[in-house]
Amino acid sequence: MKISIPQAAPHVRNPGRVPSLMTTVLIALSPITLFAVYQFGWPALNLIGLCLLSALLFEILCLYSTGKPLDTYILDGSGMLTALLLALSLPPHAPWWIAICGSGFAIIVGKHVYGGIGQNPFNPAMLARVALLLSFPVEMTHWTQAAPLLSTAAPSFIEGLQITFQSSTAFDGLTAATTLGQLKTDLSQGLPLQQLTEQYFQPLDSSLGLTAGSLGETSSLLIAIGGLYLLRQRIFSWRLPTSFLGSLLLLSTTAWILAPEIYASPLFHLTSGGVMLAAFFIVTDPVTSPCTRRGQLLFGTGCGALTFVIRTWGGYPEGVAFAVLLMNAMTPLIDHYVRPRRYGRSRTGTPIKRPLWRRIREFFYTQPKSPSSGSDK
């Protein structure tokens, strides 16, 4: 058995593999996807299917053009994951070209321009969502009231196709602003907040996902279940979601206590918009978040704070996407400056000093010249 090329240790490996990692995350996303399809009916299914298909197509195109082997790369599922996350953050009645542009932007500019998986500085799904939000504001903020799949109010299959492909307004459905959007417009008219929140914010509904909103961001409970499953599978460390939700909670509570008539309640912040989906699936994206424990805490806190700032004072109702992108831009800096302490070295890298009493004792310690009495030690 002739070994032509020496292989270094180790000679046994942990059974985990990259594709199994990705499929576990996709499984964790399945409850939300099914609920979204149930909640928003056929257009939702069309959108998700379109996103996944076009992502696969673009992935193959990019891999082929950069000459990478198709089999090992296509099966690692990262393209599917990005597409699903993007689909879940789109409004349910978005037209078909939004889905294709979004997944195209995510896969090509978000990932493959940087050389494929593992090398993109920004989270592709959030990148595509922000790009769509900025370039097609109308379609991206066209929300509809949730209507269960087979109920009368829900569009039938054919109508679903019409909504997605011909963007027909035949079925105008009950358009309604998300709680966040509603809050933003009312606040700007100077209405006191308490009166507003009673009208349209029922904490239970919003956590169960009965309110309007994009596909996957409505029901926070289902997202939490998926997230906890991933936590138990040790796919990501608990530090990222807890620091993200924690900092958002902290800021919103202090603001809410100081001036309840201006700032929304913390529960409102947590259950509305894409916070929960981001906390367990976007912020924890391994490629674009820092590697060290303290770095992750810093990253999560930064995302939470920026989300709060943009939501409260910014121009856009939903701040999570921008916050995540900004912190992704900070990640190389965090990894550069925040490093674990190395064995035998202080935090700045210089070898640690031995305690003074040991150095003094050693100074006075003379080697045992005299023959010891031979008694056993």
Partner: protein
Amino acid sequence: MKLFGFRGGVHPEALKQHTADHPISTLPLPAALYLPLQQHVGEPAEPEVSPGDYVYKGQLLARSQGQISAPVHAPSSGTVVAIDEFPAPHPSGLPVKTVILETDGKDHWSPAWTTPTDPWSLRPEEIAREVGLAGVVGMGGATFPSAVKLGQSLQYPIHNLIINGSECEPYLSCDDRLMRERAPQLIDGIRLTAHALQAKQATVAIEDNKPEAFAAMSAAAKGINQLNVIRVPSRYPMGWDKQLIRIITGREVPVGARSASIGVCVHNVGTVYAIQQALCAGTPLLSRVITVAGGAIAKPQNLEVPVGTLVSEVIKYCGGLNEEPARLVMGGPMMGQIVPHTGVPLVKGSSGVLALTAREVDDGPERPCIRCRRCVEACPVGLMPVEMAARLRADDIDGAVDYGVQDCIGCSCCSYVCPAKIPLVQYFNYARGVLDCRQTATRKAQQTREMALARQQRLASQQAARDARKAAKTEDKAKNNTKNNIKNTRPASKNPDRPASGDDAGTQHKGAAANIIATDSRVTDIPLQSEQLS
């Protein structure tokens, strides 16, 4: 005993059940033994015998030379066939100078052998000297000469002698069996080493997945108050000496300093057994216990093997290979070295022979890194393998050094947990190789500068001496002319040092450069020719 926290580490499947229950059996004496001269850290040993000599068992084959080295003894009686290049147990398969000994099967000791004096009456430095003469080296795999380690540790007050019985590598169970079957000798060895180091107390650390070994050692250690046997969590790399120091004493060894400088000394169980054999039984390090395991071995077991046995002999004794192994590994699967073929000898530092099948190696296709940072969590030294590997892939060695690649101990935790199956340890070995080349290159450049300077000074001093002689000659001539100016003018005497061709002056007079080289021990004296140019 309170244990302290530690960082990183992985939890590979122990897979020791195949060999843990087999008692240590001894290998019948092989026909030939191949003893490399470089079986330890430091200078290779200098052969004492020449081909054709008859040697007895335990006779000195090669003595240690230089500051850090260890002697090599004959594991059995026989004739020395040759001393030349033979493939070394190393991934590259390159040869090393080896003493090839044909055993005659009689295996009898040299008549000059005497029973050793009572070890308990020896002074610490005498114990260190005896251990040095017996050729004992670190058996955990580091193979650092133990005598030098004992000597170095004597300069510091040693508070705690830690005996490393953790054996955290999967598959290996040789230390486990050693502790179960030879606990009394081990305890004697520990007390002798503690005496040699003047250590206040000794602690035997055994992983909690070896209860029988713990029971055997505690029973043997009952009644000795400064010696306690403790369980440590079984988590690779518990066998890393600095990890043991951190978990038992809570302190860390400063980088670049010896562990003795914080009052701790760590020895492997095998080393302590070898010390006991050398001092009490008077036998130098001739054989060692190894584990032969792996999916491809018919009957995996633990074996007491003379040093220098070929791997093929060992595998043949264990029932041969029942399938073609994907990798043949010397040592454990995590830090062991691959060997190109079975025709390589076992050395003092080999703790096991593994013939791993493709299933066990499970070498999936290497995928691009997705920065999942499991390697950062797993690294016990606190490095960032993901950043170092990214820089090394882009050939940025200085960037990797900035992230601490020179601190990497090669424990393979990061490659083990990497889901993308990236050979991280080979990247870091490659980086250390490049740093090694740079260091030798800078040292060589420095040496070149010194020699060039020395040469210029030599040429300048020769030139000055020549001018002085010429000036003195013209002055004598002037004096001669004035004294006998009536004598006929003789032709100009032949100038003894006719300027050589070209602008260079004077013949070579091997002065400065040779002195510099002469200090190098290997260059013999060069007879210095007189000035005359024939």
